[in-house]
Symmetry: C2
Subunit: 469 residues, 2 copies
Amino acid sequence: MDISEFRRTGHELVDWMADYLRDVERLPVTPDVQPGDIRRSLPAAPPQVAEPASQLMNDFGRLILPGMTHWGHPGFFAYFPSSASPPSMLAEMLTATIGAQCMSWQTSPAATELEQVTMDWLRQMLRLPDDFTGVIQDTSSTATLVALLTARERATGFAASIHGLQDVQGRLVVYTSRERHSSVDKAVRLAGYGIEFLRLVDLDGNFAMRPEALAAAMATDIAAGFVPAAVVATTGTTGTTAIDPLRAIGEISRRHNAWFHIDASYAGTAAILPEKRWILDGVELADSFVFNPHKWMLVNFDCSAYFVKDVDALLRTFSASPEYLRTAHDAEVANFRDWGIQLGRRFRALKLWWVIKSYGVEGIQAIIRQHCDWAQQVAGWIREDERFELMAPVPLALVCFRLRPREGEDLAAINERNKELLTRVNATRQVYLSHTALDGRYTIRMAIGARATELRHVQEAWSLISSSA
Amino acid sequence: MDISEFRRTGHELVDWMADYLRDVERLPVTPDVQPGDIRRSLPAAPPQVAEPASQLMNDFGRLILPGMTHWGHPGFFAYFPSSASPPSMLAEMLTATIGAQCMSWQTSPAATELEQVTMDWLRQMLRLPDDFTGVIQDTSSTATLVALLTARERATGFAASIHGLQDVQGRLVVYTSRERHSSVDKAVRLAGYGIEFLRLVDLDGNFAMRPEALAAAMATDIAAGFVPAAVVATTGTTGTTAIDPLRAIGEISRRHNAWFHIDASYAGTAAILPEKRWILDGVELADSFVFNPHKWMLVNFDCSAYFVKDVDALLRTFSASPEYLRTAHDAEVANFRDWGIQLGRRFRALKLWWVIKSYGVEGIQAIIRQHCDWAQQVAGWIREDERFELMAPVPLALVCFRLRPREGEDLAAINERNKELLTRVNATRQVYLSHTALDGRYTIRMAIGARATELRHVQEAWSLISSSA
């Protein structure tokens, strides 16, 4: 592909992109395909000779697009939606073209320093403590693993990575709540703690961790000779956006010298609103903190903001400096390859920079505030409708609800009715919602946060749910 | 940013991208900046109000671009260059716009199935065994960690992730060569084996692992009651592209039931050439294999191709299925969140698909073959020039050389002279080369592989080195 073909195809693509953003709401949000449909439509063997650019675009539109779930669709209310914004998409064009490899300062000086600057902007926007230093990770799964590996090393005096975890005396234990994200379990397993040594602390009536239950669990373990290594609290659980009480949890963690990690993957963005900053009350007690600008802060996936207090502990856990990576400036700069798992790193700071500049802090605040307001409206409609009930508080922009049980209806029956409702609503392919289970009760989740979603889409979604009920 | 501003800015960006690709060779390959220069040029606090798109582009050109190392510059011969191609850059535009979250089939059916299809294309292109199944990881660092975690679990009957590695009897040991990549050390530390239990096996005269030394190391450990858990061989070491003898290493690994992982990050791409396929002789004995299409196969970073034989072992190590991620199709489909560390995954298969279609297998072969030919030419020039000496064989497209020691010159002096030469050459900012140490000998590395590099750039680089010597 020569420059002129690249230029021509690029312009066609930009028009396609703009048309897609304009028209996506007319597409079904989820595709009508069965497992294997797409695969069977593609050649089993790779093409031996080059195909023209026109065919690439044509095949994409014909074979791939009809099989996509449209995460940017305004009717996307499932999981936590993606708020990827036009400026972040444009920034990815530059990132792809420059193709910088951001493993060390030397291999990408401006990218490294822009990452330092934008991460500090985020720190200020969330009013995180001065002694937090930021680095971009790809996802929260990775960030939580990074936190639990650093915790493991600190708890063992950095011996596990040298002599092996098998050599360590005193069983290490990790604490989190019953409503934590699955990535905590995964990180506990991968870091070698063993899932049996993950304590799932009990919840209060709002699905948040009970600090007294945490303290009790720790006391029991310490009496048994175990070592509390880490506590993972969640600000905005995936199930219901419950807010764990950080200050109380942080104080207990400190008392026992356990690494205190806060998973605010989704909810962290809301802390840029002064009226929502309370969700991070006590964050200064944390050893590490993660939130995802790629979830709700208008940044394209992937971009996970990880903050850490003890940078030295992080570096002792992750640094590796073979001869072929050494450079003259190593002593004076941040080499972000030493701040996480991957050596190779994309230039993710660019899209973060563009999004913050393009919206301004006030512009981002206005959008997040709107999402929260709309969620309150939905909650209001549910409260006014006797057929439904709210299943959890609505502190942010996720509404958890279900059809109310009929008199004498057992759990299996009401769960089945709600499952049928969700299936019926999603089958329209006009909206996409997901579910969770709360104490065994099937619960429908409506998460507002896709960038294209407007109030009318929220209203239409509720009409659809209401008429399907 | 509304649709019309997005469209207008997008078109401007495409012209910038095309101009950049056309003109990048006129830029200095590395920037003339000191640590802190860029950071000081940026505001310490985030902007409160929105800035227009024109300012984003302007600030990028004014503040960031002059501080970038240009990985797509035809004079980039350092590390292993990036071969990111125009079609892969275009594909990233679609990926960014669609913003699919490829964690499960349900959340991205076409993306999941396109990943299965393109990974099988790669398997065919490299003539990997039929029983290898592929999944895209972000980087080789991650892939090698995935391999060593799976190895840890298999070696412990999947007990480490349940009861904890602290509970496991029989010390687990990992084997690799002295010239392995640093990501192996990092993975050994992170997976909890402990770096003391990574055996660095001796090399032959070509910097490849000596199988007899591996067998001897294993015998010693087994006699001591240790358990060989994994062996990591390298096809194309970072230092010199040495090719470890896979068949002999694989047979030894099998004999002791150790997980056999092959790191072909850079060199794997060369195996699509029939005349280079020998580098993978014995690959069928491997349990896992990784190579990076983002390094030498014209694909944009990041895209690492990980192949595994025992998918069940991988899934038992990495799967996590909480209620809110369960879908109706789970039993029939691949949910790639269970195939690695991250839950969230970008739609990386799209660029792989576009690159393979855009070049065809023959087109990719022609480019790789050219790079290897040019490396032979450089090696020839070095052989003919008495001032220089080759430091290692040149099986692929990396040439390792140095100024030949003068009579009686000690190691420190000759190292210093070579370091000075490299510094002088790189200071022109017309080319960028890196170095390594081979048995303590400072060695200059010239890696050919940037997509924009033509023979004339290789010739000019050699003229510059020669005249600087």
